[in-house]
């Protein structure tokens, strides 16, 4: 179907890169399956370390803005990731934060509940079965027979991509769903660019597209928060109406309520809508509003049933929250 008479149009160059992430976002791209071959046909993938043998110096050699778009997933935890984010920002017309970690900090961002030193000690020295009598910790520089070896340094605080470089668009989700990826790629290739800074998913709450929407009572109240492992969950009724903590009211739509369809409460990976600054704060206010009591003691008793509030309400968004991290104790 290619028009052989016309001079071959120069295909737009794109890059994929990962920082502190799990590979699931890369996997989500590969899982476009047949569609991935179409995407590969429409663009020139100039950098994608997980799949192609291009190297960092290939990117460094590019002109500024040579890449139409870079899709970066993962949070920023090391100096090396920050350098790559800056490099790709410089070489790209559009920088897209791909997935929950780049968008909000993601699950690796829960490390902000601790500081670097205590995590180092726990992981490299104190955990049982780890043999480390001298307390060796990772070194950014080490000498081996006169040869200097280097490793990237770790920051104390995990950051989202836009806390390091300006970001043009965001693709939410852990990982983003095939549908929103394909829509985003089509939008970017069409040239009709949406307003800068947009999250490329519907700007409304997940409850709006939930298959159980009609079972949600008009006045939702609960006098108890149940834990999913203690109850048999009904497969058709609104999870909040069953007293289960579902992040749906505070979370952006676009996943088509994947978790709820699997009978599991939403855990919030798409982040908040554009009207909300702090995802966990919004979730807390949504929860507080359904507590069926006006008695302070009773309200406290009910809210105390929410275990690990930070890990639950800020599961994907701690680095991008107003507080960003747990306050360090004064020494």
């Amino acid at each position: 179907m290619a028009d052989t008479a016309a001079p071959a149009a120069v295909k737009p160059k794109v890059a994929f890169y990962w920082c502190a992430s799990c590979g699931g976002c890369e996997e989500a791209v590969v899982d476009l399956a047949e569609a991935i071959l179409d995407v590969v046909g429409a663009v020139d993938i100039a950098f994608w370390p997980v799949a192609l043998d291009f190297k960092r110096h290939d990117v460094e050699a590019m002109d500024d803005g040579a890449l139409l778009a870079s899709f970066v997933n993962g949070a920023i935890r090391t100096t090396e990731q920050a350098e790559m984010a800056l490099l790709l920002r410089q070489k790209s017309q559009l920088l897209i934060a791909f997935g929950a970690c780049a968008h909000l900090g993601g699950i690796p961002g829960l490390a902000n509940l601790w500081d670097r030193e205590s995590i180092f000690r726990q992981v490299y020295a104190e955990s049982p079965s780890t043999v480390n009598p001298e307390g060796t910790l990772p070194q950014t520089r080490s000498e081996e027979d006169g040869r200097r070896l280097t490793l990237p340094g770790f920051y104390d605080t995990v950051r989202s991509l836009d806390q390091v470089v300006p970001v043009d668009y965001y693709l939410p989700g852990c990982p983003p769903t095939p549908k929103i990826i394909v829509q985003a790629v089509q939008t970017l290739l069409s040239g009709a660019l949406p307003p800068q800074g947009m999250v490329l998913a519907p700007d409304r709450a997940l409850c709006d597209e939930c298959p159980r929407k009609d079972t949600r009572p008009e006045k939702l109240t609960t006098s108890e928060f149940k834990r999913p492992h203690q109850v048999l969950i009904d497969e058709t009724t609104c999870l909040l109406a069953q007293g289960l903590l579902c992040m749906g009211p505070a979370t952006r739509a676009g996943c088509e309520a994947l978790c709820v369809r699997g009978n599991m409460p939403c855990s919030g990976c798409f982040g908040p809508t554009s009207r909300v600054r702090d995802h966990g704060g919004k979730a807390l206010s949504a929860i507080a509003s359904i507590v069926a009591s006006n008695d302070t003691g009773e309200i406290e008793r009910i809210l105390a049933q929410v275990p690990d509030p930070i890990g639950t309400l800020y599961r994907y968004s701690l680095p991008s929250s107003l507080l960003r991290r747990r306050r360090r104790e004064a020494a």
Binding site: W18, A20, S21, C22, G23, G24, E26, E27, A28, D31, A33, E34, L37, I45, P49, V50, A51, L52, D53, F54, K55, H57, R77, T78, I107, P108, L110, A111, W114, I119, Q122, V123, Y124, S127, P128, S129, T130, V131, N132, T136, L137, P138, Q139, E144, R147, L149, L151, P152, C174, P175, R227, H229, Q230, I233, R261, N263, M264, P307, D308, G311
Partner: protein, 430 residues
């Protein structure tokens, strides 16, 4: 006359993650090999402290987007061990079925998109697809069969959402499993063809006397449970793991290096499973292995691509058997009451054994977590392999040597996102 040459490749591409490899050559001999790993497992062990026991499967899945089921399975097993929860046999069968999906998709990804280009002389699967679109399309479709099975049982293929301590959030009806059956039959044929095709690839002559470590189960090719055994006499329960294995921290790497106490390096993954459990593969899988030129033992890590093909075939066969025998459990999960204690879990991730241990307090909060992913366990074996592999090939042109070294590392399907990130290969000759 002495001369120093350095080959530097700043990333080892086509592994799921990145790291660095340094090879030192002096006087025509390899004197030092170091696998450096830049990005550790994002310190999950650190921030799991304080989370609820019930959240471990979902949080640890985010260590690896390629093998999330492995993380979920080792985590639920450990938590069910803490809480002494009996698992319904049909729930167990469904978990095994979900795991089959992950083996299929993960192995198909590695064989077709990451490893095969090495053998066929292509830079990547994208380049391979230009000349051999049918091969890459078969790989993608095979991967999709695994993904679809995971999606059916787990809601989605990356980070399935259905697994919970005590069972599942919801279980499928028998009827829901029908559509995937046809697809799995196609996949079984495609896996047969994959085994035949990978058997025709050219393998360097290279064998090592590894200590293989894998789970072993009397009645089945172990995936979700078994005893930890080796070809050199190890035979222990999972909870005895820490009496026999240690992890050391080395300043040049951010990932811990595992070894067997007093014995050193060992190898986990498809090759280990195949060698230890060959007789528990399905007859079809054993037959395909023989037809592809493998005996019941295989010590050439380059042939792991064939073994992965055989394991895909087995996973398709096993999935079809599990579906045929499936009767939905009476309830998707049982009630779990947290209690203080320590629990252990170990399952066969696509890349090898994945060990979890958690200590939980009486309110159900995690106070301590230990996770040992397969790539951390293979690091020493990878270093030993590079040393033995490079020695007789020291005079090869650097580009060829570098390529072959990268290929030797890719034999392990190193999921450096589990153990790490970032690999530079550096051969320093003098």
């Amino acid at each position: 006359m002495s001369r120093t040459r350095t080959i530097k490749v700043d990333y080892l591409a086509r592994v799921e993650g990145e790291g660095a490899m340094y090879v030192r050559v002096r006087g025509g001999r390899v004197t030092d090999v170091q696998l450096r790993i830049f990005e550790p497992p994002r310190f999950f062990e650190g921030f799991l402290r304080g989370r609820r026991f019930s959240e471990a499967p979902d949080i640890t899945a985010r260590i690896c987007g390629i093998c999330p089921v492995a993380y979920q399975m080792s985590a639920v097993q450990a938590m069910e061990d803490v809480c002494a929860v009996p698992v319904d046999p049909q729930v167990r069968a469904l978990r095994r079925l979900l795991y089959c999906g992950e083996w299929i998709e993960s192995h198909a990804l590695h064989i077709y998109l990451l490893h095969a280009p090495d053998f066929l002389g292509y830079e990547s699967a994208v380049h391979l697809a230009k000349d051999h679109p049918a091969i890459v399309e078969r790989g993608l479709r095979l991967k999709k069969a695994g993904n679809d099975l995971m999606t059916l049982l787990g809601g989605r293929a990356v980070h399935p959402i259905n697994v919970r301590v005590g069972g599942f959030y919801r279980v499928p009806t028998r009827r829901e499993l029908v559509p995937v059956t046809e697809q799995l039959k196609w996949a079984r044929d495609a896996a047969l063809e994959t085994a035949r095709w990978t058997g025709t690839l050219e393998f360097p002559h290279y064998e090592q006397d590894y200590e293989f470590v894998a789970l072993s189960h009397p009645d089945e090719y172990a995936i979700t449970e078994g005893r930890l055994v080796s070809n050199q006499g190890l035979d222990i329960a999972v909870r005895e793991y820490e009496e026999h294995f240690v992890e050391e921290h080395i300043p040049y790497s951010n990932a811990l290096h595992s070894s067997l106490k007093d014995r050193g390096a060992y190898l986990v993954g498809p090759l280990a499973r195949y060698n230890l459990n060959f007789d528990r593969l399905s007859p079809l899988a054993r037959e395909a292995a023989r037809a592809a030129g493998l005996g019941p033992t295989c010590r050439n890590p380059f042939q792991s691509i064939v073994v992965r093909s055989v394991e895909i075939l087995y996973a398709c066969d096993e999935a079809l058997r599990l579906i045929a025998q499936y009767v939905p459990p009476e309830r998707p999960s049982v009630e779990v009451v947290p209690r203080a204690g320590t629990g252990y879990g170990c399952t066969e991730a696509p890349r090898g054994i994945l060990y979890h241990r958690y200590t939980v307090d009486d309110a159900g909060f995690i106070t301590d977590a230990k996770i040992v992913p397969p790539t951390a366990q293979n690091q020493k074996a990878i270093e030993a392999d590079l040393r033995a592999f490079v020695d007789p090939r020291i005079d090869l042109p650097e580009e060829t040597l570098t390529w072959q070294c990268e290929q030797a590392i890719r034999n392990y399907d190193p999921c450096i996102s589990c153990a790490t990130h970032f690999l530079a290969l550096r051969v320093d000759r003098e």
